[in-house]
Amino acid sequence: MSESPAWLREQFDSPEQQQEASRLGIWAFLATEIMFFGGLFVGYIVYRHAYPHAFAASSRHTNILYGTINTAILLTSSLSMALAVHAAERGETKRLVKNTLFTVLLATAFLGVKALEYAEDFREGLVPGPGFSLQGGKGEELFFYFYWAMTGLHAIHVLIGIGLLSTIAVMAARNRFSAQYHNPVEVAGLYWHFVDIVWIYLYPLLYLIGRHL
């Protein structure tokens, strides 16, 4: 066999095969993530249908400023990640590292805003259970149950993304990627875009119902 690059794993016959496998792999994985979040979305839909007014009323208690800031942060982070992948395709290591690190920064900012928001929600008694402060009935507690479960699961995915992207940034800084080989960057990019898209769904479902302009 002629020169096979160092990054070609022994189970694969060719670089193309490895790259096709990793691309297909991340898409299949994202399909599983859709099903995972899907269960929560189904629950949300069922209870929103059952308690439409309670859900709308509860939604008004979320902090729309924090929510909107976080949406802007994540959208920007998807842009910076797309630019990172773009740089990787061109073998521009410096831009790759910068954009990846910027994405990590934005992701961390997201979690920071989330922490502030959670603290405020906690103070206002928006945690379902004995200390729940809203009096509108069971639908309101259910709304917040979904609020915490869905944003919590999403936040866990953001945290994992921070780990993933930091690793990519370190690998990139060590010149592990090139225009010929940057699959891990693509894979991480797709994961990050997925995390962003989930938020795009969460934002209107949690923050915007019942808020009329």
């Binding site: 308690y51 439409p52 007014h53 309670a54 009096q135 509108g136 009935g137 069971k138 639908g139």
Partner: protein, 316 residues
């Protein structure tokens, strides 16, 4: 009624279910013959070392595939139709049914007749009379299973479900809980006793309680203080309940609910979620203060008011 001598099919619908079951057995036997017959034949005829014609088949195999896809598909649809039609009859109680009420709890069945008679783990029934059971659970999901009637219905906490039958045979039949519900699930059963109508009437009288369900409900209505708000010109304004049952109720949220058993139960337990239009949210919840049987009695009382009018209207 039923093609089988056993188990006792004790209602006409049970007999129909048995006929469907027999039909399924015959169709299954047909398919098994169709598959196992040739299979065993081939295993003999074409076993290794035995002389036989093994040349390749020269037919369009897709034609065979279409035939054995389409024909089973059509038979499936036939079976579906037969079963679904019978199912519709099983699930839709006729309008003329007498009512009885069931509350399941770990690990017993509590039954109340409309006349007020109460039973535990037993249900006495008159022959030939259509009975509709309205059921709920106090705790976990149970299931009210009478094998002889070929019916079963999961009994779910937080909602009312119904089951109906018309006993056609005198006898004593098993009653089982058929949804696993904890330690004594397999002990949660008893008997359904179908009697001649005159014997049943005598049984009712012999065990007669002070009040029938509606009267018991009326007493509760006063004792729990419901009449304090819902009757007369009291200080606290609450919707009058005469003529309410079964009709539409405009809610504060803008939706319109139908005042059925489930709605009234929710009003008693979760009043904030059922606020009527034009009224303040002042009704307290009775969760923990009334049992499921008491709720059934209250509903029976409110139902008895369905044909009445509030006094103010009557004086017009």
């Amino acid at each position: 009624m039923s093609p089988f001598p056993f188990p006792n099919a004790a209602t006409e619908l049970a007999g129909k279910v048995d006929w469907l079951f027999l039909g399924l057995i015959l169709i299954s036997t047909f398919y098994m013959a169709l598959i196992f017959g040739p299979m065993i034949y081939f295993l003999f005829k074409y076993r290794r070392g035995k002389k036989a014609d093994r040349s390749s088949i020269r037919i369009h195999t897709w034609k065979v595939e279409v035939v054995w896809t389409v024909i089973p598909f059509l038979m499936m649809m036939g079976l579906f139709g037969w079963a679904a039609d019978l199912y519709y009859q099983i699930e839709r109680p006729p309008a003329d049914a007498l009512e009885a009420f069931v509350v399941g709890k770990q690990w017993m069945w509590k039954l109340q007749h409309a006349e007020g008679n109460r039973e535990i783990n037993e249900l006495h029934l008159p022959l030939g009379q259509t009975i509709k059971l309205t059921m709920t659970s106090e705790d976990v999901i149970h299931s009210f299973f009478i094998p002889a009637f070929r019916i079963k219905q999961d009994v779910v906490p937080g909602r009312y479900v119904t089951e109906w039958f018309r006993p056609a045979k005198i006898g004593t039949y098993h009653l089982f809980c058929a949804e696993y519900c904890g330690s004594d699930h397999s002990l949660m059963g008893g008997n359904v006793i179908v009697m001649k109508p005159e014997d049943y009437a005598a049984w009712l009288v012999a065990g007669a309680p002070r009040d029938n369900l509606a009267a018991a409900g009326e007493r509760l209505f006063r004792d729990l203080g419901c009449s304090g708000c819902h009757v007369g010109s009291s200080v606290m304004r609450a919707p009058r309940l005469e003529g309410v049952y079964g009709g539409p109720v405009p809610l504060a949220s803008g939706d319109v609910a139908i005042a059925d058993d489930q709605y009234i139960r929710d009003c008693i337990l979760l009043p904030a979620s059922q606020r009527v239009a034009g009224y303040s949210p002042l009704m307290p919840t009775f969760q923990g203060r009334v049992s499921e049987e008491q709720i059934i009695q209250l509903i029976a009382y409110i139902r008895s008011l369905a044909s009445k009018r509030p006094p103010e209207e009557m004086n017009k």
